[in-house]
């Protein structure tokens, strides 16, 4: 009797759970971490949608795209969140993504007119270090120093790819020489951002490739002003992080609602102090206190999305060649 009641309970619970539509979003690891934006955004969206929002950590940006390609039409994902402008053209080319209909008054450093992807935050790549370190002022100085750095793999991670584009846009044909100079500074190349940042925090390196906004995390969340981002005089490469809906989604309306939700106050106000990036639409209250202390690059570098694939392939070949020596 007890057993029957138990079984009935399980069945009804499953049924109730099954009735709620599930929106599955593939994203990167740090987005879903306890301290990341995931938990707050999940709660905020679920309060409006009567659905079950499930974030799935599927690796950093570039690996996300490979994962979706690998799963193809079979993928469970409805939305991929965490690509950037270096990957959007390649992503569109797969034919797996569907156009969006979101409009917003973006506070981005560039004009936004992408038909497939919706931006949700942005930032400048930078090497983060302990404040007492005499940081180099550019890649040449870094290459000549004995400083140890951790970077991410451009094939799997958007920061890693950003660094590749950064060096390429700043140095053009000299990029291979810069990479050869950097080779002995690189402690290791990680798969994703979290791993690299963790190694830096563990003391495995002097600097880590991250964002100019990363010190804000230590300052605001940990009240620790000892981390800084090195300002490079070549300029800093820009990252605009985006999300897109998969064409094969079984929840197209819910996915559209989420993309629209992304540019609203409820989502955007969470970004600065969880994802530690500049929001795509600045919240009414402005940026949190502490953000004014951050390094603001004098020059922003960005390869136009349409050319990114081509630049990437050439730069990647150079990078692999230089670092395999």
């Amino acid at each position: 009797m007890k057993y029957l009641a138990f079984a009935a309970g399980v069945l009804t619970a499953t049924a109730a759970w099954a009735e709620k539509p599930v929106l599955t979003i593939y994203t990167y690891d740090s987005f879903v971490a306890d301290w990341g934006p995931g938990p707050q955004i999940e709660a905020a969206f679920e309060a409006t949608c009567d659905c079950d929002l499930q974030f799935v950590a599927a690796g950093d940006g570039a690996a996300l795209l490979a994962r979706v390609k690998l799963e193809g039409a079979r993928t469970d994902a409805d939305i991929v969140l965490g690509l950037d402008t270096n990957l959007t053209a390649a992503a569109v080319e797969t034919g797996l993504f569907a156009p969006h209909s979101v409009t917003a008054d973006y506070d981005l450093p560039v004009a936004w007119d992408d038909a497939t992807f919706v931006p949700y935050d942005w930032g400048y790549f930078a090497f983060v270090h302990n404040a007492e370190l005499a940081a180099p002022a550019n890649f040449r100085a870094l290459a000549e120093s004995d400083l140890k750095i951790v970077i991410q793999d451009p094939r799997s991670s958007t920061p890693g790819l950003g660094l590749l584009m950064w060096v390429k846009t700043a140095y053009g044909d000299e990029a291979p020489a810069i990479w050869e100079g950097l080779a002995d500074n690189i402690v290791t190349v990680t798969k994703g951002w979290s791993e690299a940042y963790g190694l830096f925090l563990d003391g495995e390196a002097d600097m880590v490739l991250s964002y100019t906004t990363s010190p804000a995390y230590h300052l605001i969340a940990e009240d620790d002003a000892t981390r800084a981002a090195a300002a490079f005089d070549e300029g800093h490469y820009l990252q605009i992080e985006v999300a897109g809906k998969l064409a094969g989604t079984d929840q197209p309306e819910l996915a559209d609602r989420f993309l629209a939700f992304m540019v609203t106050e409820a989502f955007q106000s969470v970004i600065p102090t969880t994802n530690w990036m500049y929001p795509a639409v600045t919240p009414e209250s402005g940026l949190p206190a502490g953000f004014e202390t951050l390094t603001v690059p004098e020059r922003a570098l960005l390869v136009p999305p349409a050319q990114a694939s081509e630049v990437r392939d050439a730069a990647l070949a150079e990078w692999l060649a230089a670092l395999s020596r």
């Binding site: 690891d29 490979a66 290791t188 190349v189 003391g203 495995e204 692999l320 670092l323």
Partner: protein, 518 residues
């Protein structure tokens, strides 16, 4: 009607061997079919091949070179705790790679124990990532293996020879020349080749301690072609290279192999008279102490760091643990079902059938098989939905060569010692298995099962290719925790994984030993 060696036909074993061969060769064929010459081999691919070979040569050479003096010290010194140390030398073999890496980082990392100690006296910190880290980890795993194998060589020198040596007034140098060097010359090439073959296809170590394109093994390059580029043709091309590399290494190991050691009794000592003076004793003592420290410190670090995290493990870790235990048990069951009949068939004189299939397992690396399975499955079904079965199956294939090495001598002894008696008593196959084979092979079966369970529990290989974000095994979950800077949870997961791997080994081994008799 003559010609049978025991009351069970080798047919089941031949069928098992054929199945194993098919399960290995099928994916290999898929890889051959799918490989694309396309872009050819880029500089990064050549770097991967170079690095695979370089690190394997260094790892094997260092492991064996260090193992010789350590084994010699252990062979001629008796001291309290010797038996424990010799047992400990067997532990790294069943230690999950990811757990060992975690322990090595805690000890040898830039902010590890040794670097901390070095900074007190003003020395620069250690760098563990890259070639030296990969070699360090491989030496951690293979120094104990090589030491045990070489120690076996010392044990197999008959005690009478040492008695004769004492009679002739041999000192340590004379013993080296007349007794030890011939033994080493016979053993060492084979042991070197085995370690070389193991290190050549290293994946998890290179994944965690490699340092970018400069420190990538071919096995890791396959994984990257998959998960970074989703380039199946390229992954298959790399897999083809890996087959050639690993196949040559396995052939080399087989060719140089000194054959089966007796495997037991390492904790006993041969009485020696040629132990030299106090200086030599000090040297031996220092070697033994350093080896013990080298093995114990990382294990201590895992326990010390893990205890705190154990109470704060996220629920995914428990789910992953359950998955891993189930995979390990499935692997173990399947291994027994395959390896026992194969061992019996080999014992009945069908040598090639059992050995051959086992060697195929050594030659084909997990990611090669994984790539092949992926290519075979992908058109029909989501490979991720079969992640756990494929992982269990590949783990069986990887454990099979070791299991066969453990089981075949016992199966052979049983068939040679009692096969004719069983035949003359007209025992049916079932009675022969239940009354004779299982009781007589019980200890070895338990050991092989324990080894398989532990290896499968700790494996981080093909699962990394197949698992989607949700169905991780414990080693993969731990790797993910390490990657997402959840250090405390990762430390807890490391300790849990260590406990589960050793625990599974211990349970199977103990069940095998319980009630075992002559």
């Amino acid at each position: 009607m003559a010609g049978r060696a025991q009351p069970v036909s080798p047919a089941a074993g031949l069928a098992a061997a054929a199945l194993v061969a098919a399960v290995i060769l099928g994916p290999v064929a898929a890889v051959l079919w799918r490989a694309e010459g396309g872009r050819g081999l880029g500089p990064a691919d050549w770097a991967a091949i170079r690095f695979s070979v370089t690190q394997a040569v260094l790892s094997a050479t260092l492991s064996v070179a260090l193992a010789i003096p350590v084994a010699r010290a252990l062979a001629r010194r008796g001291f309290p705790g010797r038996a424990v140390l010799v047992t400990l030398l067997g532990a790294p073999f069943i230690l999950p790679v990811i757990v060992a890496v975690f322990g090595l980082l805690a000890v040898f990392g830039r902010s590890g124990w040794i670097s901390d100690a070095a900074s007190l006296v003003g020395l620069p910190p250690l760098q563990i990532y890259g070639l030296h880290g990969v070699v360090l980890a491989h030496v951690f795993f293979n120094l104990p293996l090589a030491t045990r194998l070489i120690l076996q060589g010392w044990r197999d020198i008959p005690a009478e020879h040492f008695r004769l040596a004492a009679q002739l007034g041999f000192g340590p140098r004379d013993s080296t020349r007349w007794l030890e060097r011939p033994m080493l010359a016979r053993l060492v090439p084979g042991i070197w080749a085995v370690v070389f073959a193991i290190c050549l296809t290293s994946f998890a170590v290179a994944l965690t301690l490699g340092g970018g394109p400069r420190a990538t093994t071919v096995e890791l390059a396959i994984y990257q072609a998959f998960l970074f580029d989703f380039d199946l043709g390229r992954a298959a091309l790399l897999a083809l290279i890996q087959i050639a590399l690993a196949g040559s290494a396995a052939a080399l190991a087989l060719w140089l192999s000194p054959g089966e050691g007796s495997g037991g009794g390492l904790d006993r000592m041969t009485r020696r008279w040629d132990t030299g003076g106090p200086g030599l004793a000090l040297w031996d003592g220092a070697l033994i102490a350093l080896t013990a420290l080298f093995l114990l410190l990382p294990l201590a670090a895992i326990v010390a760091d893990g205890l705190g995290g154990l109470t704060r493990l996220p629920p995914q870790v428990w789910e992953a643990s359950l998955r891993s235990v189930l995979v390990a048990l499935a692997s173990t069951a399947l291994m027994l079902v395959l390896a026992l009949p194969m061992a019996l068939a080999v014992a009945s004189g069908r040598r090639l059938a059992g050995d051959g299939a086992g060697i195929l397992g050594l030659a084909a690396s997990p990611l090669v098989i994984g790539t092949g399975f992926f290519i075979l499955l992908n058109p029909w079904i989501s490979p991720a939905s079969l992640a756990l079965p494929v992982t269990a199956l590949v783990n069986v294939l990887m454990a099979l060569p070791f299991a066969l090495r453990i089981l075949i001598p016992a199966a052979r002894d049983t068939a040679q010692g009692y096969g004719r008696l069983g035949l003359s008593l007209d025992m049916r196959p079932r009675d022969w298995l239940a009354r004779v084979v299982l009781p007589r092979m019980r200890v070895r079966l338990g050991f092989a099962a324990g080894l398989t369970a532990a290896l499968s529990m700790g494996d981080l290989g093909v699962i990394a290719l197949f698992a989607d974000a949700e169905a991780a095994t414990l080693p993969l979950q731990m790797y993910r925790l390490m990657g997402s800077y959840q250090t405390e949870a990762a430390a807890g997961a490391a300790l849990l994984l260590l406990a589960l791997s050793l625990g599974l080994f211990w349970v199977f081994d103990a069940v095998g030993r319980r009630g075992a008799e002559a």
